[in-house]
């Protein structure tokens, strides 16, 4: 970030400061990618738990709900140990890269999406159960139908995951290293500027981050309303 403490973050945004834009872009790509990957993993898992009965099911649900509160810094540490050169996946050389940050946030966000998806789909299943049984719909098709029909409620689950990812700093600062120009995101930049004592800049960046999150939520809400209007 340019060392002019008097320049507000807003000014930087309006002037299209390339460093700030790069940081915002990285924040968005890391968190959105993590949400996308998590969704691919977690929604089917949530659906599976919602629809099947197996011994220990209640325990799994409790565990999944508890994992929504995974401390980011703990996740960061665990992923760091995995990806470090002297760790099991060291040969991939992923530490201190955006990919490592995506991995860490995916771990953080997946339980949230899975737990919320499970609840959403289980509720819809209660509604659909008789009809799908009456239409003799097979297990795989049931999962697909429920996920598809619940897609708007699932958007809320995705937004919850995104909120968690966009807001956290503990995991990505450990696995990303907050490297200037490579792994510096909005939250890690805020942490850095705070430790440099440049509080106005840090707060300004914080407001920019909050604004972006609000815009994304508004867009998702709009998409949901539009979709519901047309699909019912």
């Amino acid at each position: 970030m340019p060392d002019n403490g008097n320049v507000s973050a807003l000014h930087l945004v309006l002037s299209g400061d390339p460093v700030l834009l790069a940081i915002v872009w990285l924040s968005l790509t890391v968190s959105l990618s993590a949400v996308a990957v998590s969704a691919l993993i977690a929604v089917p898992i949530g659906a599976l738990i919602a629809l099947t009965r197996f011994p220990g099911r209640e325990g799994v649900i409790v565990f999944l709900n508890a994992m929504m509160g995974l401390p980011p810094v703990v996740v960061g540490l665990a992923v760091y140990l995995l990806l470090s050169r002297s760790g099991p996946l060291g040969a991939w050389g992923l530490l201190f890269t955006p990919t490592a940050m995506i991995i860490a946030q995916t771990v953080l966000v997946s339980p949230i999406i899975a737990a919320l998806a499970r609840q959403t789909i289980e509720d819809l299943w209660t509604e659909y159960h008789d009809e799908l049984a009456a239409m003799n719909v097979g297990p795989l098709r049931r999962i697909v139908t429920l996920i598809w029909d619940a897609r708007f409620s699932l958007i809320t689950a995705l937004l919850a995951g995104f909120g968690r990812a966009a807001a956290e700093v503990g995991a990505i600062i450990i696995v990303g290293g907050n490297i200037d120009g490579f792994t510096r995101t909005m939250t890690t930049a805020i942490a850095l500027e705070t430790s440099k004592g440049d509080l106005p800049l840090a707060i300004g960046l914080g407001l920019v981050l909050i604004s972006i999150v609000i815009v994304i939520n508004a867009a998702a809400w709009g998409a949901r309303r539009l979709g519901e209007h047309y699909a019912g």
Binding site: E127, Y128, D130, E131, A133, A134, M135, N136, V137, R141, T145, D149, Y230, A231, G232
Partner: protein, 240 residues
């Protein structure tokens, strides 16, 4: 007239079904054959819904036997059921029917025509694009009927299909029942409305406390009931 279905006659042999330790069906023996509709009547809790679900194959008897056309295990290919409070899939009216057709393995190229035909049959052609959850109670019931008919059933099971409907909507449903019966579908339906039972039946089956009390053709049943319970029920008394 269509080929007699593989699922008929539908036979209940001393069927008992328990739920949470209590008997819901307590030794039901019944034979349902093709022809005019069979109407199940009886007080609440008599077991009508459970009987229909068992006929569909959704509930297994705790003891006793159910056979469809002589077979004990029969995948519900030519059977369909419509529930008392049908759930609408969160999609359009037409999409609901399309879904039922897909689930019944109707060939893709035939689906659109069938959707149009079925919606026309139940009088919902104008509402094809409307989200199904926005339909009125009567319209939703008709949509559920269309979904059931999408399975091209030989047996159509209806659980109190007009319970919450006004007379006009009720007539619409009864008309459809008449039409499909003429096409060769065997309708088995339950009702609270004795007038409806007289209009639609066929065969009347009186259920009470999980047992078949009396059966008979509608005319005879209402004119000259044989059992005390039947007499009381027809007279409008509460069967406890």
């Amino acid at each position: 007239m269509r080929n007699p279905a593989l699922d008929l006659p539908l036979l209940f042999v001393d069927v008992r079904i328990r739920a949470r330790g209590l008997p819901i069906l307590d030794g039901v023996s019944l034979k349902i054959e093709s022809g005019k509709p069979t109407v199940l009547i009886g007080p609440n809790g008599a077991g009508k819904t459970t009987l229909l679900r068992a006929a569909m194959g959704l509930v297994r008897p705790s003891s006793g036997l159910i056979t469809w056309g002589g077979h004990e295990q029969s995948p519900p290919v030519r059977r369909a059921i419509m529930f008392q409070r049908p759930a609408m899939l969160r999609r359009s009216t037409a999409a609901n029917v399309r879904y039922a057709l897909a689930a019944a393995n109707v060939a893709r190229d035939k689906r659109e025509t069938r959707v149009a035909e079925l919606l026309a049959d139940v009088g919902l052609a104008q509402l094809a694009r409307r989200p199904a959850r926005k339909l009125s109670g009567g319209e939703q019931q008709r949509l559920a009927l269309a979904r059931a008919l999408a399975r091209d059933p030989a047996i159509l099971l209806l659980d109190e299909p007009t319970a919450s409907l006004d007379p006009a909507a009720t007539k619409a449903i009864e008309d459809i029942v008449r039409i499909v019966t003429a096409r060769g579908v065997k309708v088995v339906m339950s009702t609270h409305d004795l007038g409806q039972a007289k209009r639609v039946g066929g065969e009347i089956v009186l259920l009470h406390r999980g047992r078949v009390i009396e059966t008979g053709p509608a005319g005879e049943f209402f004119a000259a009931p044989r059992t005390e319970e039947a007499r009381k029920f027809i007279a409008g008394e509460l069967l406890v």
